[in-house]
């Protein structure tokens, strides 16, 4: 079995959670947030993870090397609100061993 990685997620109330994320279940960061219920159901992952709603937008705070942004994520962020230079969509960040130490902050609900 592949190892879990430790990631830190600051929720929308500003509370920091350092949690174990499995790397062997093809899960993405948005799903990890839902798994640990760090954002109320219905406020995150609304489109299910198709990079079509930006409800899982987060700000990347660590210098973790992330998968390159694909066109659809880039285009969605161009239409989202509260976007910063370090914005990413959680649903497009797969949990792999390389994500060890990742730290993100959830963007406000919009």
């Amino acid at each position: 079995m592949e190892q879990d990685v430790k990631v830190t997620i600051i929720d929308r109330e500003g509370v920091s959670h350092t949690i174990e994320a499995p790397t062997d279940m093809a899960m993405n960061l948005m799903e990890i947030v839902r798994l640990y219920e760090l954002a109320p159901e219905g406020t995150i992952g609304i489109c299910g993870g198709m990079a079509m709603c930006a409800s899982c937008q987060c700000y990347v705070l660590s210098d973790t090397e992330l998968p390159e942004m694909q066109e659809d994520e880039d285009a969605m962020l161009a239409e989202a609100f509260y976007v910063k230079n370090n914005s990413r969509l959680g649903c497009q960040i797969q949990m792999t061993p390389e994500m060890e130490g990742l730290k993100v902050e959830l963007a406000p609900e919009s």
């Binding site: 109320p40 159901e41 219905g42 406020t43 609304i46 489109c47 198709m50 079509m52 709603c53 409800s55 659809d72 880039d74 285009a75 969605m76 161009a78 239409e79 609100f81 509260y82 919009s110």
Partner: protein, 353 residues
């Protein structure tokens, strides 16, 4: 007043399938949906995306699933109140319900089935400080009647299909169409992007990119939008207009349903899943993504099952004490309210000599 047997809130896959199951029990349905078309998330969020876990369909586009469900239930003649949001639920003395929409349309039924998915889709509003004070005074989030914009100066903001499609459509109606987007790239169907390019070259659409509307100008009525453009140097200037239409997609909100006195947990309605998906208000059911119970899975196929059981319970409430045994459509056929009949072809009995 619209009268029906089962009033369904939400015309997504679960609500549409409930119409079919109710029809088999000779119960009539009427659906209310905030969106202007049936299909719910399937038509609004991902119409062109495939779904792989509908039993019996190895792959089906969300749009096609909606079309099939409409075709499957059409002989039961469902009524629709579209483009209106169910706002209030009032229980009557006789135990029936009146549901009123945001436009004042009243619906009366003994059973209410909430199949509201993630809630009603509300427009996502850009963060412009004085946006709200211009609502209905030049700012609209949804285009209801294109003719409303005839010979007007219109500014559209957004980079997706609806921003592109409406810019194209209104370029023939409005006196001036300006499309503003934060990027030079647009995320739409290829032919829409090409068409906008063509209209821009022909001078029929004024394209401002990469830019953003950052403020609104006017006294009681919208006169202009403040545009911040970031080409080589940042510059801010006003674009005169009569209407500003921000099209940044829709996001679902539980909304008024939350004030109906229903037990809510994790943004969903608690139901009795051991029996019939009834809520804490007898006669009000919640089916599909909108409900929650131990082990709940938000899957279309689970919504179909919940809709089926809900209809059986609704039958018992509408016809107290009346006995019924489950019939198979293959055996008994399907008798529509429109007089149509579907049935399995009779077996041929013939001697072989």
């Amino acid at each position: 007043m619209i009268k029906t047997d089962i009033l369904i809130i939400g015309a997504g896959p679960t609500g549409l399938f409930a119409v079919f199951e109710a029809g088999l029990l000779k119960l009539k349905c009427h659906l209310i949906d905030a969106l202007p078309q049936p299909g719910g998330q399937c038509s609004e969020l991902y119409p062109k995306k495939p779904i792989y876990d509908i039993p019996g369909f190895p792959e089906i586009l969300a749009d096609d699933l909606t079309k099939n469900l409409l075709e499957q239930c059409k002989q039961f003649e469902p009524g629709f109140t579209l483009g209106e949001r169910a706002d209030t639920l009032e229980k009557q003395e006789d135990g029936t319900f009146i549901v009123t929409t945001n436009k004042g349309t009243k619906h009366h039924a003994p059973i209410v089935a909430i199949a509201g998915g993630l809630g009603s889709f509300e427009p996502r509003k850009p963060l412009i400080h004085n946006l709200v004070s211009f609502e209905d005074k030049g700012v609209e989030y949804i285009i209801k009647e294109p003719e409303f914009y005839r010979d007007k100066k219109v500014v559209i903001a957004g980079g997706g299909d609806s921003a592109l499609d409406w810019s194209i459509y209104l370029s023939n109606i409005a006196s001036e169409v300006t499309l503003i987007h934060r990027r030079n790239e647009f995320r739409g169907a290829l032919d829409s992007v090409d068409k906008v390019q063509e209209l821009k070259d022909a001078g029929k659409i004024n394209l401002i990119t990469p830019a953003e509307v950052v403020g609104l100008v006017g006294h009681h009525e919208l006169k202009a939008v403040v545009v911040s453009q970031s080409a080589h140097i940042n510059k801010e200037y006003e674009v005169e207009c009569d209407h500003f239409i921000p099209l940044f997609g829709l996001s679902p909100k539980l909304g008024p349903l939350g004030n109906w006195g229903l037990e809510i947990e994790k943004n969903a309605i608690k139901v009795n899943n051991a029996l019939d998906y009834q809520t804490n208000i007898p006669g009000v059911f919640a089916i599909g993504d909108v409900n929650t119970y131990p082990g709940k899975l938000k899957l279309i196929l689970c919504g179909f099952h919940e809709a089926t059981l809900m209809c059986q319970a609704a039958y018992q409430i509408i016809n107290p004490g009346k006995r019924y045994v489950l019939k198979y459509t293959t055996v008994s056929g399907v008798d529509g309210f429109d007089g149509s009949r579907k049935e399995a072809p009779k077996a041929v009995v013939k001697k072989i000599e």
